[in-house]
Each structure stands twice: as C-alpha cells, then as structure tokens.
C-alpha cells in the first residue's frame, strides 16, 4: 500500500439539485498538512465532512486508509474512529465534564479501561494546556478553551488523520492564537491534517500544500510557498488579494 492515506477520485456530490462538489480529485499522503481555503459556500466543509462520511457522496470514490467509503455502515464507524474531527462550533457534549468528554469515546468505542482512558485524556489535555479544567463543564469554559478541549477529545481516539472544519471562525480574535498554537504543536508532532481555515498565517507556518476551492471545484493546489508567491489562476489571485 502506498502512503497515500486519503484518495478521492472523480467525486461528485449534490444537495438536491444543487451540485456542491464537482469532480474532486485529491490525494493526501501520510503526515502531510493540507490547508483548504476558499470563499464561503465553495464546498470546503462539505469536502472534509465527506472524508468521514458525515455527508454522503453520490459519485466517485473516497478511500481512507485503504477502506473505501460506501453504504456499508459497519466499516464506517471504524473509519470514523481513525479520523478525528474538530468543528467550528466545538460541539462538546454539554452534559459531560471536560474529562468525560475526552474519555467517552475511548471507553465506549475503543473499549479502553476507564483508568487508562483518563490517563490518556489528561495527557492530551495537558498538551493543549487545559488539564486544570478537566473537572469543569463545557459551559464554564471560554470558547478557546472549549475548542482546545475538542482537539484533545479527537486526539484521545488516537486518530491517523485530523480534520479541522474552520476551527477558529467562531472564536474571539484573542482566543484564536491559543487554538492555532495547539494545532501547530500537533502539526509538528507529525499528524496528518486537513484544515479548512481562513487563517493564512497558520497556512504559511505549517501547511505543506494549500488547496483553493471555488464553486465546488478544486481551482488550485500548490506547495505553500508557491501558492502564496505565484498563484496561477486569476480566481486565486483575486481571493488572495482580498484576504491578505
């Protein structure tokens, strides 16, 4: 098996009559960090939601870690357990403490003993620097802390790939940095990451490649330096000129 951990070929997706993703071809190698950017409504989020099948695609194929995503639901839970995801709205479980948020899936999905799961959770919470908040509830934390907890929660499943769906878009400017720091550390530790974000500073710092999407198509894909220095298509140039 090649070290291509995600392979998307000729993928199309519709919401009703509206085609959101058009002919997507994307390969991601292990340990690569990919940043996906583009105007809103361009299908970025839908694309990464397809990768762990929170959305179903109608045409083409998606192969994650050697398993093709089809309607066979038995596999899907195993694949999802290996693909961590962080959401724009954090989506922590409000009825559970921070620690329980992190240990829930390891205990019930991976059948890990409670003690081990708690140890693991505290390790990851330590990494994102909120171990001291472990006994609090999500509602008592700031947005930045919640998002870091969400990252720790995803990491507790020890995923092979991490997907980030605009992780800083719902945060106050002050809190964006603490979340980005946690993501940078994660990237340095060698995690395979696909990040949908508008934070171009983050893209420049950690991304190996940048993908620009518009109207459901991948318009441009290039090495990070190349992408910012010599964007090829006019659409990319326009986009960059507007946000930089």
């Amino acid at each position: 098996m090649s070290d291509k951990i995600i392979q998307i070929t000729e993928m199309n997706k519709w919401f009703g009559d509206f085609q959101v993703l058009k002919n997507i071809n994307l390969e991601v190698e292990k340990n690569k960090k990919i940043v996906v950017c583009g105007p809103s409504g361009s299908g970025k989020s839908t694309l990464i939601r397809c990768i762990n099948r929170l959305e179903e695609h109608q045409q083409g194929s998606i192969i994650v870690d050697g398993n093709e995503l089809t309607e066979d639901t038995k596999d899907i839970e195993k694949i999802r357990a290996e693909v961590g995801m962080v959401f724009q709205q954090f989506n922590l479980f409000p009825h559970l403490s921070i620690l329980d948020n992190c240990t829930l899936a390891p205990i019930w999905v991976k059948k890990m003993p409670k003690k081990d799961a708690e140890e693991l959770a505290l390790q990851h919470l330590e990494k994102v620097q909120i171990a001291d908040q472990a006994s609090k509830y999500p509602g008592q934390l700031s947005g930045g802390q919640q998002q870091r907890c969400a990252i720790a929660r995803a990491l507790c499943m020890e995923p092979k790939i991490m997907l980030f769906d605009e992780p800083t878009s719902a945060l106050d400017p002050e809190m964006i940095k603490e979340v980005l720091d946690a993501m940078v550390n994660l990237a340095k530790a060698g995690m395979t990451m696909i990040v949908v974000t508008h934070e171009m500073g983050f893209a420049k710092e950690v991304a190996d490649e940048v993908i620009f999407m518009d109207e459901g198509m991948i318009v441009e894909r290039a090495e990070t330096k190349e992408f910012f220095a010599n964007p090829k298509s006019d659409r990319t140039k326009l986009f960059l000129s507007q946000i930089l």
């Binding site: 709205q89 989506n91 899936a105």
Partner: protein
Amino acid sequence: MMNKLNFLQPDKNNLNTYLYTGVILVSLSIFIVFLNSFFNKDIISFLPGSISFFLPLILGFIGLHLIRIDYSGLKFLDRVNKNINTNNFNAFLSLLIVFVIIKSLPPLLSWFILDANIAGDSKDVCTGSGACWTYIKIWFNRFMYGMYPNAEQWRINLSFIALASLGTIGFFATEKFKKYLTLYYVVVYPVIAFFFIFFFISGGPIFFDFSYGIIAAVISVIIGFFIPSKFKMYYFIIVPITLYILLKYVFFYEELIELGKLEALEWVETGAWGGLSLTFIVSFFCLIFCFPIGLFLSLGRRSDFPVIKYFSIGMIEFWRGVPLITVLFMSSVMFPMFLPEDMFIDKLVRVIIAISLFEAAYVAEVIRGGLQALPRGQYDAAKSLGMGYWKMHILVILPQALKLVIPGIANTFLALVKDTPLIFVVGLLEIVGMLNLAKTNPEWLGFAMEGYVFASVLFFIICYAMSKYSYNLEQKYKTER
C-alpha cells in the same frame, strides 16, 4: 391627580408619622373584615350600606399608599413595599386577596374541622353542618384496597413497602455499583415489581410461579458472583430463565400441584382489587411501560427506515387520535373477541397495556421535541468519534434530550395518574370509582362532597410529590450552561 397624591408620599424626614398612620389604617381595615368574617360583627354598620361595604378597602388602600416609599431601611417595610405594594393597582389587588382569604376562612374551617364529625361509626352522628369524616373513616379500608379481602390486605402493604424500599436502593449504592443503577431501574426493578404485584398480590396457584422466580433469581445472583465479567451479560439472561423453567416443569412440578392446593396464598382476582392501591398499581406500571415505548416510538419516528418510521407515525397518530375512554372500552370488550377461545388475558393487564400505549404516544412526541432541540453538531461530533446509532443515542443524544423534556414528561405523567379513574368503564374501581360506588350506598347517601374532597386531597398529594420530584431532577441535572 398624581400631584395631589404625591404630597401624601412619605420621605425620609416624616417617615414615622406616615408609617404610624398607614399601619393603623391598614390594621383597622383588616380588623373590620376579620370581625365581620369570624364573629359576624359589623362595627361600621352605622354607615350607609354601600360605604360600609367598601370602607375597609378604602381605608386599607389609603394606608398602603401612605407607607409606600422607595427605600426606608426598615427590612419588613421594604419587603412589603417591594412585594405587594409597588403601585396603587397592586396594593388594591393585594388588599382584595387578603380580604377574600379572611372572608373564606371561617366557612372552610367550620366545614373541614369545627362543625365536622369524625366520631362514631354510622351516619347518625353526622348532624352538624360540616363535613362527615365518619363516612371516610368507615369506608377508608375500601377506599384504599377496594374489594380486596380484609384478611389478605397485608400482601398489598408488604408489596408496596418492599417495592418502595427496593426503589430507594439508588440512594445507598456505592460508587462501584452506580453504573449498574440504570440497568437496575430500567430492567430489574420493573420485573421485580411485576412479580410482586401479579403473583404476590394476586396469589393462588400462580403464586408458585412467583416463588420459582425468586428462587431462580437468588440462586443465579449467588452463582453470578463467580462468573467472569466477560460472560455476565449472557449469564444473567440465560441462567435465571433456565432455572425458572427447570424449577417449574422438572423438579417441583408433581409435588407442588399437591402443595399448591394446600399452601398457596388465597387467589384474589383482579376485579376485586381497587381503591388507592389500584391507582398506584395502574399508574406505576403505565409509567414504567409507557416511557420506554414512547422513547422507541420517538426514535422510530426519526428513523431512516421507512417501515419503522411509518409504523411509529401510525402508532403515535392513532393513539393520540382516539379518546382514552374508548380505548379502555375496546380493550375490555372488543379485544377479547379477536383472541382464540381458550386464550385469556387478565382485565387489569389489558387496561395497563391500553393506557401504556395511549400515553406512550404522548411521551413519544414530548421526547421528539427534545431530540429536535439538540443542535445537529452533537450528532456530528458523536459520529465523528466513531459511535454507532445506539452508542450515539445512549451516551450523547438521549441524556441531553431527556433532560430538556423533564417538564414535559412530568406533565404527561401527571395527566396519566389523573386519567386512571377512567378505568371504571371496564369495571375496575380505583379510588374515584370506589367513591362513586360508596356514594350510591343507600346507608350513606349524601356524602359525595366529603368523598370527592378526600380524593382530591390524595391526588393532589401524589401529583404534587411527582411534580416536586421532577423539579428536583431538573435541578440535579442542571450542571452546565
């Protein structure tokens, strides 16, 4: 007008004068009403009729106006001003309410206590104008136990005490057993309750089924301690049932047929059950059955599988669309016609199934409201962590949704408890049914009022306890946000 009144407002300097005048006026007005109401003395009768009627209100109103001040530093005065004396309209309403209470106390007191009778044991002692509690005293036993034989009523008491104490286990469970509590309350407890009520209270040869059940359960729990936890799940399903069948059909069968005639508890058919104990039995079983059924219907209605979805919608809409009284009637009259000749399902069981299904439809819609209130992100997050449908619902969705709908569920359950009297249509007489029976007894005609008051008080106590409990639950799970 306002300006004119404003000069009557107290301020810091002349507070005392205003305060004394105001308090005297208010006290005087209350005193007048009090005398009038309790001692029938009208000390202002020298005034013309309409003025003497309104005088207390006017005096009190002026008094309250005089003592109204933003902040006086006197604790009691400030509290009064803040709560009942914020403006002229509120002061007027407060006075009116106080007067109505004072006015209505004497007749209520005299009916309930002063002129009431409780001594003696026949209706002849009830000569006063008040309530005849003797009637309740004499019929108390019937109101509690219906037609259940007096000598056997200890069985009902014992069952209720046993179930009540088994129900409190949750408060004493140690940390180690806490995680089994849900299993206990959802599966084990209802089964125990079922055995107690249908075998122990019912009695007869069937009582031995109960004993086999107990023996099988005890033996399997004892062996259960030595079983590796890996197999416990299967063990606790298979072994008790096997033991039960062995006990019933292999080991004891011959002997117990003989014994059964000698030693079994006397059989009391469900038609003889009644009174408050039947209210409890019906409510209890309907509550514990309608909840899981409603839960599954609500999940089913949101299912992706058309068969499950439309079945759930059909069930919900059907049961919501028919009146309970017709459902009960059909369960007793129509339903047996569709059963094979030799098949017999007890009347009480049929009633409990009917009410459970009926209320389950309401519970389902209440729960669905909670499910829909959850943001889609919760589903996404649970799925992205690799949880399947059941794990997602049990661990993430339902704990939140159910917490949201505690008030709605409590509402449905209260309605259920108060719907139980309807079972009179199939001839089961719980407490209100017994009242209706007792009030037509020729020796005790004319005491319907006492009976209904009595039942109202009982229902109020039950329902208020439930509503308090649901409120406590709400507070208990209000850990976040």
